[in-house]
Symmetry: C2
């Protein structure tokens, strides 16, 4: 049994928008903190006008002196996107593999932070000592190369953090996840597993990228037209597959879109992408080749409004338009929430005469995350004393926990906890020990965290029924109305067509003000309230809408 | 070959929100028009603040004298929801089966239209003559009872409209779709098939409701806890299955939610629902029974914000709260666009300690629409000369057309057309003959069609960045500023925390106005423009946000 003298560590998940620990994990002992990943999320529908959502890092800021490093598992936005914002408050070194650091570097340049940040490159197999923590990196498979798991040796025991992963036995770069090392680490004894739960609802195993390679190659061979293929720019394996398939089938590849070009340039400079000689052509050359010799590679598989494929589907891309007979391949699966915009892109592509291959129609996509059988493989390789499911919504964690019980981890050793909950661990105990501040910090333009609930609530109300502004000028002393009340609206009704409604409302406000004048009321608060009350009900009766009503009173 | 004397009819699809002909179809000859269905859609995400979307019926209104009847295929909102709005302009009789009319009646009462509307009940097998059209009704399967296809015999030939359908050989009411009659009608010769395309992307056949029955019964038997089961209130077969399964497994059923209670009451009054004696209990009695004897039936399977299950998951239902161990069954599949809200409901239910069964976890749901094999069965029963896919987005129509080609309909005899396109048909020809007004009419509160693009655009802009109002009072003749400029905002920044920003902007506006005064400029348009320009750039520089800037100028 443990005693009160046993060394204790804490693990805290932080992360935005209802996913648990996906953006950031914190590991802490009495003297030191290390941070695993620093990512952002894209906003929910009801986070009006918000650009990005990052985790609340106020706990880290108030323990600034303990924070030693940020370690990054892979180069996706939900793991690196918050780095520029975190660095403002915590200028600590960042550890990551080569490609991951390359992608972070792009980001730091954008924010003018490259010269003030230390980036420390690590490789799978390597171990680094960061204060009291010894961290070893293990190669994993994911939808971006150079993804790693981390073996974090602490005073209390070993913590294994999987990062985002899948187990691909036949990946296209020839480097399957390092199961042997995972097995060795497991055999040495692992106190806690922080494991990716994203696909915990999906049975079986994730498709191998080589199946996807074959499908893409077959498609390039069989289709006798131009191919437009769309995926995430960061999916460098997929990009590699496209180049390989084009090479084997005698097609040339043109790429379009800033992020696609940036990532391809970086990945090939760093040696993660092997572009066969002479296969790339400029987008302006595509018309000089017969259609069956052309592949166009771009983003937009999620129906993102500004991505190349989406713009092409709307007919507003500068250089490319759909030709009847084009075959469009969406090499991705819908991210929940994107179904309608993807559907609209597909509709538009069909309207323009393209053939479209999407979803399950061909095996043109494999998830980047482990399904249930791979998760059980991970659990049995590691055999952790405690299982802490992370990465995913609550329901994914729930299913990951179920898998843990299936492979024999006692229920009381499995901890599904929310962002901000502090889990304490000693060599043989794990318990909830309070919580730290956590939640969504909203980024809107340059503002980080300055859009709060009041502003969001206002945006929601404005979006639903618009705003009605009643303005008047009064004499300072007497509160006599000198001008107005006059009404203006935005997003409520089209004023030109609702002249009568507005005039009637102005009349009601005028009458109410006259009564106040008679009574000699001069205080603003009352005047404002009376103005609102005078038209609020009337507008609702006439329209069954509840606009924001804003009285503006000027004094002379 | 046809001659110019051959009788001609027109078919026009009308419908909202990018689905083609789902809400309304128009069949017209030289003297008469009949309307098939009158439904509404729920708004898209970018239709801010809109309650419902209905088809533009201005073509019908301008041909009012020709419109003889509205015929309804089944009682779902996307086929009956626009009736109260259509009746304002077109008071014609409405034909439908008993349950369909019952549901329409509920709606008419709400709108105070029952006494002025003629409802004419029809039955499968029956034929009615409506002016020059003879219409026969054929029993079909769908996710609501009493659904019918229509055989419309016109001067040009027979048109078969499937309505929404599937072919269930073992439905729980013992009435499979009337394939024999479809075969006879097909053998007599069908000019055009207007066929449901909803599931044209799905291979195979739709699950039978009896499979679902078995699953529900098994679940009720195996689960040793309270069952909460959620489906659409209109899915009366599913409701029937729940009562049956409860009866067989010794459970009692309590229902909650206004629409669920209304529809169950109506369906059992009309004989569409057989509620075993003594099986229903009041929601207040549930605690007097052991949990394994209780079933709670309610809506909310789509995460609809106000539905019972959603409220329970948020912990704000007046009468029901989740007890640890409860099993929740979502007896439905996500409608595209609802994935995130359904996911959030599931997360919340797990957090509260419930077990949740959803999506493919058990066969607790069957679609109401035909999959590819059923669609081919329909095509081969009817063997229409012309195929006009309807009901679905463009991509669904595209796949329906592909199935048509597979069964041998020549490509030139298949017409994928948009809402509003007029298809003319004679006994052996079909061609596009122009178009009529069509599109989304937006319903917001009491307003039908009064929210147009300008109001929507304003709502979108307001929702993204809020509004900044600059108000000032000027002297009429001289344009001298008497009060202001003062700035107020909503949904932009939280003003209390952004005092400096606002004061600086006021300063800039004041300066710009002073310059105008010096120059003696007095016209409003210039003053407004100068006010906007003076702060627009500044606010963007400081925040990278683009609020709506609204100058308000009062004159004395």
């Amino acid at each position: 049994m443990s005693t009160h003298k046993d060394p204790t560590i804490s693990i805290i998940a932080l992360g935005g928008r209802g996913e648990i620990g996906d953006n950031m994990l914190v590991i802490e002992d009495d003297e030191n903190i290390i941070v695993l990943d620093s990512g952002i999320m894209f906003p929910e529908d009801d986070q009006y006008g918000i650009d990005l959502v990052m985790p609340d890092i106020s706990y880290l800021v108030s323990n600034k002196d303990k924070v030693r490093a940020i370690l990054i598992s892979h180069g996706h936005e939900d793991h690196i996107g918050a780095i520029p914002y975190v660095l403002r408050d915590l200028n600590v070194p960042i550890y990551g593999t080569r490609l991951t650091l390359g992608l972070i570097q792009l980001k730091l340049k954008e924010f003018n932070l490259s010269s003030t940040t230390s980036l420390i490159e690590v490789s799978p197999g390597e171990k680094v000592q960061i204060a009291t923590f010894n961290v070893e990196f293990i190669h994993m498979n994911h939808s971006i190369p150079d993804s790693i798991a981390m073996v974090i040796r602490t005073k209390a025991g070993t913590v294994l953090y999987t990062g985002d992963y899948k187990i691909d036995h036949t990946p296209i770069d020839g480097k399957p996840a390092d199961l042997q090392r995972l097995g060795q680490v497991g055999a040495e004894g692992v106190l806690a597993l922080l494991g990716d739960s994203t696909n915990a609802e999906r049975e079986g195993t994730t498709l191998s990228e080589s199946v996807v390679s074959n499908t893409i190659e077959e498609t390039f061979k069989l289709v006798n037209s131009r191919i437009i293929i769309s995926t995430f720019s960061s999916n460098i394996h997929r990009v590699q597959q496209v180049f390989q398939a084009a090479n084997k089938t005698g097609r040339k590849v043109a790429i379009t879109g800033r992020s696609m070009i940036n990532v391809i340039t970086l990945a090939s400079q760093l040696g993660y992408l092997d572009i066969p000689d002479g296969i790339m052509i400029d987008i302006r050359q595509i018309h000089s080749l017969p259609p069956q010799k052309v592949v166009l590679l771009m983003t937009g598989s999620q129906g993102e409004p500004m991505a190349a494929l989406t713009r092409i589907s709307r007919g507003d891309h500068r250089q490319i338009e759909i030709l009847p007979g084009d075959t469009v391949v969406l090499s991705s699966m819908p991210i929940p929430g994107n179904e309608r915009s993807i559907g609209q892109t597909i509709n538009q592509l069909y309207r323009l005469g393209a053939e479209v291959l999407y979803d399950g129609m061909i095996d043109a996509h494999a998830s980047g995350h482990a399904c249930q059988e791979e998760m059980k493989t991970m659990l049995n390789l590691i055999k952790p004393r405690f299982l802490i499911p992370v990465h995913g919504e609550y329901r994914h964690l729930h299913h990951h926990a179920r898998l843990g019980r299936q492979v024999g981890i006692p229920e009381e050793n499995i901890f599904i906890v929310d962002n901000g909950v502090r889990l304490n661990l000693t060599k043989d105990r794990c318990w909830i020990a309070g919580s730290v501040p956590s939640g969504d910090i909203l980024i809107d333009g340059l503002g980080v965290g300055d859009v709060g609930n009041i502003v969001l609530r206002d945006r929601k109300m404005l979006s639903e029924n618009g705003i009605v502004i009643v303005s008047l000028t009064i004499e300072r002393k007497t509160a006599k109305v000198l001008a107005g009340p006059s009404i203006l609206s935005r997003g409520f009704v089209y004023i030109k067509e609702s002249k009568e409604l507005i005039e009637e409302a102005e009349g009601l406000a005028r009458e109410a003000l006259r009564e106040l004048e008679v009574k000699g009321v001069t205080d603003w608060a009352t005047i404002k309230k009376v103005v609102i009350d005078s038209i609020d009900n009337y507008l609702y009766q006439k329209t069954k809408r509840n606009p924001v009503i804003l009285p503006i009173i000027m004094e002379i």
